[in-house]
């Protein structure tokens, strides 16, 4: 296949961003193996030093290597993002399919509840949830996952309803096909596409939310490195050592941007019309 034959419009974005995303994922996954220093190794004699040959991104307020901490934080953020999206998409899909399948009162109650949760600004909900559950990485995954449920629920419900309206389904019901079979064979395959696209976007939002929570001191706690808490600590030293804030922020921005572009690309691939 020649380069000119390649359907750039459809696959271009995915082709371009996928490698970047893979690199990010691999770097994060292999973090313990590739970091030059342990993210916890401190040496107060070299604290607050700018980028040098031995510390490419400088050192922080306890003399720890910023680069190593940024890479480790990548692993944390990506893990939180993945788990949160899994929780949200899994639970949300179930809720959406149940609502679409049973319809009527069940549908009305479920979706009303989803609507109300949806109307709470995400950060507000996240902050209060974290205060309740306790500030830890596990709870951050849970809290963010919960916040995603309404979005996935709405999406899958809409898709499921579209599928249901198709006539061959009525035929299947007449023939006595059991409910769950219908779900698995007809509804789920149609749901997966849009859910995947939504998941990519939700993932980057999860990474942003996790960073926001740890920025506010409600997520990963020091000395555990998280982009958010590094940016927050760095704020206090912004005049003495701006790299402490700038490095993790740049990494965060780059990651979120790459995944969002990937989401755009997936949308192009799966249904170019969706882009409009």
């Amino acid at each position: 296949m020649l380069m000119t034959d390649f359907n750039w419009r459809r696959y271009g974005l995915v082709a371009g961003t996928a490698p970047v995303v893979v690199i990010i994922l691999v770097t994060a996954g292999l973090a313990p193996l590739i970091v030059p220093y342990s993210p916890y190794d401190l040496d107060v004699m070299v604290m607050l030093q700018g980028p040098t040959a031995s510390h490419l991104m400088g050192t922080d307020e306890l003399g720890r290597d910023v680069l190593s901490r940024v890479i480790h934080a990548a692993r944390l953020s990506i893990t939180v993002g993945l788990v949160a999206v899994l929780i949200g998409s899994f639970c949300g899909t179930i809720v959406g399919i149940i609502a679409a399948h049973f319809g009527g009162l069940v549908d009305a109650i479920l979706m009303r509840f989803m609507d109300i949760v949806f109307c709470f600004p995400a950060i507000l909900l996240a902050v209060i949830l974290m205060a309740n559950l306790g500030t830890s990485i596990l709870n951050a995954m849970l809290a963010i996952g919960i916040i995603f449920i309404p979005g996935f629920a709405r999406l899958t419900r809409a898709v499921a309803q579209t599928v249901q309206r198709q006539s061959f389904l009525e035929a299947a019901i007449c023939l006595g096909m059991p409910g769950y079979r219908i779900v698995f064979r007809e509804i789920l395959p149609n749901v997966i596409g849009p859910v995947l696209v939504e998941a990519a976007v939700a993932f980057s939002y999860a990474v942003l939310l996790e960073s926001a929570l740890s920025f506010l001191g409600l997520g990963a706690q020091p000395p555990e490195p998280s982009w958010g808490n590094m940016i927050n600590t760095g704020r206090g030293f912004i005049d003495q050592a701006p790299w402490i804030s700038l490095a993790p922020g740049a990494a965060l921005f780059f990651t979120v941007f790459s995944f969002n572009l990937l989401g755009d690309g997936l949308r192009d691939v799966l249904d170019p019309k969706l882009n409009d």
């Binding site: 600004p121 950060i123 704020r235 969002n260």
Partner: protein, 316 residues
Amino acid sequence: MLRLVLIRLASFVPTLFVASVILFVAVNVVPGSAARSALGIQATPQAIMRFEHLHGLDRPMALQYVEWAAKALVGDFGKSFQNAVAVGPEIRKRVPVTLELAAIAFVVAIFISVPLGALAGFCHQRGADVVVTTLATLFGSTPSFWLATLLIYGFALQLGWLPTGGYTAFSLDPIANIKGMLMPCIALGIVSSGLLIRIMRTAVIEVMAANFIETARSKGVSNFRLVTAHVLRNAMIPFLTVGAVEFGFLVGSVVIIEDVFRIPGVGSLVLVGIINRDYPVLLAAAMSITVIVLIINLLVDLAAQMIDPRQVRTGH
């Protein structure tokens, strides 16, 4: 039409009620004794019991809720656990600040997204579209708190043009007010414009698809400027109605931005309430933010229905 309006209004009240119950429960099961927070390291068990009894924390939740809600409806949000000062006046002072921040930020976002979104829409599937769409993703991917830190570093610390934070009321000193609002609103505005650019783009594309051919024919010679203005005018309505949802996200983000820039709005008050386990303060602040979002959504729904009853915003 009036019927539709009344129905929409009628659904507002139960939504508000359920939201308030959710918030109340969520806040009151936050672990970490409010008493200890208020009384400090030397608090004796008797002092803690006294505190909890004084503030009715040892009574059933439902009873506490009813009492709180009844007072809240008339604007009495109780007294702070920390210093026994009434919360209501502080909320009344802070809500306008948050509204000012959110409103100006939204205006900034509109100023960015309308021209860019329109450009992308007109140049659909061509070079400019790709550039703008990528830019929209770029803006939307920016963490607001990092952008804020960058702005502070650049404009406040290095260049010294703007203050690092704080707030001055407009009535006191308009210039200082604007200076203080500039960076927070730009940070919020840029991030919000990510989504808004796409919405504008979609609106323009749809209007063009629907109207372009007709308009061009009826006007004979296609006057570029007339067509453009016509499309824009028609696109603004769907843009605003859909875009107003983004306003809700924006209000949520003020929690962080108010913290970074030390702006005394209800967003930063939420964080104060959480850190201090000051339930009355936390509840009042969180409720204020939720009410603002609900009211904006309500107003936009109503406006949309009145302007174009066909465009009923369901399932959003």
